[in-house]
Amino acid sequence: MMSILTGASSDNSAFELKGRSQKIMYLCIQQPDMPILIKQMREQLGNSPVFFNNTPVVVDLSAIYDSATPIDFGQLTNALIELGMVTIGVRGGNDVQQRSAQQASLHIFPLSGDETITPQAVPPLPSSPCAKIITETVRSGQRLAVKGDLIVLSSVNAGAEIVATGNIHIYGKLRGRALAGGADNQSARVFCLKFNPELIAIAGEYLVNDELPADAINKTCIIALQNDLLTVDPIGTFTS
């Protein structure tokens, strides 16, 4: 629970407004005939009264937008209460349906963007830079630092150092140093086909070769940071 607003900054404030997410169910009505609807709901949902325990529900009228049949929202609300559901409003539907819902003291909720009857064009995804790809062997004395992910399609030799603020993938043998996640990206990982580094680090946590688990050496490994500790997981062997 997260406090987002209070009436006053002092301790004796009269109220506190808290943001909290609560599951709401949508009851999507497929046909407007009330007796059939209520009968089916009782048959299918009445067997599990414990499952619904004053569960808030919004009645979705999108599927019967074109129907002229009037809907008795009072009758529907009562039937839902019997089944353990509290109707808090409706969404979708035409003007006549929404008006009669308001008369039954139900609120009108907007349809969320992805479910509109007339879908709007999906905005194009913002283009983000691709991971940097290195095809050449990274050799002793060379140092490579990139923002984001780094993919090396060959080996990183002893005495070389590669640094990335994101993940590092090495499709070859890692003999040098690899530092992923920059200074603070703890979710970064290192993926390596053959693992025998001088030093491996994620977000500043590092291990030198002597400290590596012996069973991981020269294996295909994924290196991650868990609870401030580097974990090295061999996922198989690399045969050249």
Binding site: T137, G141, S155, N157
Partner: protein, 271 residues
């Protein structure tokens, strides 16, 4: 226009000068007009290996600084018509090498020779950079041991960043690997790195191995490039290497232990 070949390694004592002399002599034996140039200013050795130390009058730095002409500095080999030596200076240091001066001399040599073999000094400083800067091809000389391999790795990295071809974004320097002082028996014992391991780490085209051989020292001390010495395994290996460099296929030799015959097994002959 001559092809400029740098012989380099990073580490000292791995056989750069022996390789430069043997390789240049092999190219000359194959009919190419070849000059071998010493870039090891202050630690001149190539003239000794080539056996021309008593004929040095002018050297590379004299020519760079206009104190003598290129013709005066070039020494013609007594054994091979196609082979010339350009010695380094023993009394100066490597700071006296200028890239402009080296370019001018290489330009002049280029018009007269088919191949220019540049014998690089050890290290990654000015002398080594000057030797590699204008290279078209590079022979990386490595011993089968970890420190030599790592230093060669460093040099290969520099070839792709510190040369004229890299700076002008031209076709990169073509690199070739030569593993010297290779002893298959010690490889089998686990004392030495396997050639395949070295090739895997350095990941450049492989020209071949040169076997560890006592006769290399003898040839060096008597001023004979090993390729000119008959009955020398190392010389045969260098000839194979030069042929492979020139595009001729040669089966790889000297990479396995010679199988002992029944007699040497019984009588304990040394292999």
């Amino acid at each position: 226009m001559a092809k400029i070949i740098v012989v380099t390694s990073g580490k000292g004592g791995v056989g750069k000068t022996t390789t430069s002399a043997a390789f240049a002599a092999a190219l000359a034996m194959r009919g190419f007009k070849t000059v071998v140039m010493d870039f090891d200013v202050g630690l001149r050795n190539l003239d000794l290996i080539m056996g021309c130390e008593r004929r040095v009058v002018y050297d590379l730095l004299n020519v760079i600084h206009g104190e003598g002409s290129l013709n005066q500095a070039l020494i013609k080999d007594k054994r091979l018509d196609n082979l010339y030596i350009l010695p380094a200076s023993q009394t100066r240091d490597k700071d006296a090498l200028t890239i402009d001066g080296v370019e001018r001399i290489l330009g002049e040599l280029s018009e007269r020779f088919d191949y220019i073999v540049c014998d690089s000094p050890a290290g990654i400083e000015k002398g080594a950079i000057a030797a590699m800067y204008f290279a078209d091809e590079a022979l990386i000389v490595t011993n089968p041991e970890v420190s030599s391999v790592r230093d060669s790795d460093r040099i290969i990295g520099m070839l792709s960043s510190k040369t004229r071809r890299a700076e002008l974004d031209l076709e990169p320097v073509r690199e070739h690997l030569i593993i010297t002082r290779y002893d298959p028996r010690r490889v089998d014992n686990g004392d030495m790195l396997n050639a395949d391991d070295v090739r895997e780490i350095l990941a450049i085209p492989f020209l071949g191995v040169v076997p560890e051989s006592k006769s290399v020292l003898v040839a060096s001390n008597s001023g004979v490039p090993v390729t000119l010495d008959d009955q020398n395994e190392a010389g045969d290996a260098y000839l194979d290497i030069a042929d492979r460099f020139l595009g001729v296929e040669r089966p790889h030799r000297f990479m396995q232990q010679a199988k002992k015959g029944i007699f040497s097994r019984i009588f304990g002959g040394s292999s």
